[in-house]
Chain length 214, copies 2
C-alpha cells in the first residue's frame, strides 16, 4: 500500500488535477474510490477527511488535506526534487501564482458550467440547458481572448515552462475538447497549440489511461 | 513616491485584501484610485495591468501583478522578514493553503453575494433581492458550521498563528458584520471570537481609517 492516498474518482475534475500532479512527479499512490452516487462523500468517515464533502481528499502519511489546488501545491513543494518542477521561485513564482488564480477564478467557473452541461449531463442522461451553454460559451470566449494574448508572449501561462498554472486546466479542457465548446478553441492558434502541448504530456496520458479503464 | 503601487479603491474587497497585507508587513505604498464608476477598469491603460478588468492591479518596481490572492502571496513571500509572517513552511503551510482555498472557493462566493445584496446595493440605492439573500444566508450558515468546528481545534484557520488564510476574509467580513448577516456569526462562539480577534489587528484598523477617509 502506497503512503499517498487519493480518495476520489477520475471523473472528478478536482481529483484528476491531483492525479495529474502526482503523475508529473512520478509518485506512487492508492486511488480509493468514493461512491458519489450513494452520497458517500456527504457522510462520515469521508467528511472527517474533507469537511465540505467534496472529492478529492488526500493523505500523505499522517498529513490529511482537501481542496485540490492546495494538494497540488503541497505535492509540488514537498516533492520539489522529483519529476517536473511545476513551480518557480521569487518573482517568476509570483507570475505563476497570478495565472493559477486566473484558472481558479476566471476560467474554471465558466469551464465547469460548460463541462457539466455539454459533457457530464449527456453522460448521465440529463437535459442540457441551452441558455446556460450560450451564456458560458460567450464568457469562455472572452477568457480565451486573454489567454491568446498571454500565450503570444509566453509559451505557457506562468512563463517559459509548464507549471501548475497549466496543469490545473487539464481536467476541464479534456472534457470541453470533446464537446461543441471545441469551436471556441480552434480559431485561437496560440491557445490551440498550448492545449495540444499540455494534452501530449506523458503524465496526462497516463491519467487518461486510468480514467478510461474505470 | 513609493516603489509599491496599488491601483484600486478601498471599497473593493480585493483591493482591501492587498492593502491589509501591505499594512501587516509595514510596507509603504501609493494607492492609485481607479474610477470604476466611469469604467476606467475596463479600458486601457488599466487593462494592460489587469487584463480581466478587475481591481486591484499591483506594481512593485518592474513587477506587475493582478489577482489579489496572488499579490498577497507575493508580498508575504518577498517581504518574509518584515512585519507579520503570514505564511508557514512545509506541512504547516499545506494546512494554511487548504484554508486559503476554502476562503476562495467555499466562503468568498457566498459572502460576496451577501455583501453585494446587504451592504453594497443599499449603498448604491439599489433594490435588494430577498431570494438571493435567503439562499446565501443558508449557505453561509453551513460554511460557518465548518469554521466553528475548525476554530474549536485551532485558534486561527491555518493553525496557531494568524496567516493569509485569515487575512483574506477580512474585507467581506467587515461588510457582513454591519448587516443582518451578523446574526449568522453570533450563535457561533468560536467564529465570533475569531472575527473579533482579526478585526482588532492594528493593520486592519489602519486599513479601515484609510477606507473611512475616502
Amino acid at each position: 500500500m502506497a503512503v499517498i492516498k487519493v480518495h476520489g474518482i477520475p471523473l472528478s475534475t478536482a481529483a484528476a488535477r491531483v492525479i495529474a500532479c502526482l503523475n508529473e512527479k512520478g509518485l506512487e499512490f492508492d486511488l480509493i474510490p468514493v461512491d458519489m452516487g450513494s452520497g458517500e462523500h456527504k457522510k462520515e468517515p469521508f467528511l472527517s477527511l474533507s469537511p465540505f464533502g467534496q472529492v478529492p481528499a488526500f493523505e500523505d502519511g499522517d498529513l490529511k488535506l482537501f481542496e485540490s489546488r492546495a494538494i497540488t501545491k503541497y505535492i509540488a513543494q514537498e516533492y520539489g526534487d522529483k519529476g517536473t518542477p511545476l513551480l518557480a521561485s521569487g518573482k517568476e513564482m509570483a507570475i505563476v501564482s497570478v495565472w493559477m488564480e486566473v484558472e481558479a477564478h476566471q476560467y474554471d467557473p465558466v469551464a465547469m458550467k460548460l463541462a457539466w452541461e455539454l459533457a457530464l449531463k449527456p453522460h448521465f442522461g440529463m437535459q442540457v440547458d441551452d441558455a446556460v451553454v450560450a451564456e458560458n460559451e460567450e464568457k469562455l470566449g472572452k477568457v480565451l481572448d486573454i489567454y491568446e494574448a498571454r500565450l503570444s508572449v509566453s509559451k505557457y501561462l506562468g512563463g517559459d515552462v509548464f507549471t501548475l498554472a497549466d496543469l490545473h486546466h487539464l481536467p476541464t479542457l479534456s472534457y470541453l475538447m470533446n464537446t461543441q465548446a471545441k469551436k471556441l478553441f480552434e480559431p485561437r492558434p496560440k491557445v490551440s497549440a498550448w492545449v495540444a502541448d499540455i494534452f501530449s504530456r506523458p503524465a496526462w496520458r497516463k491519467f487518461l489511461e486510468l480514467r478510461d479503464q474505470k
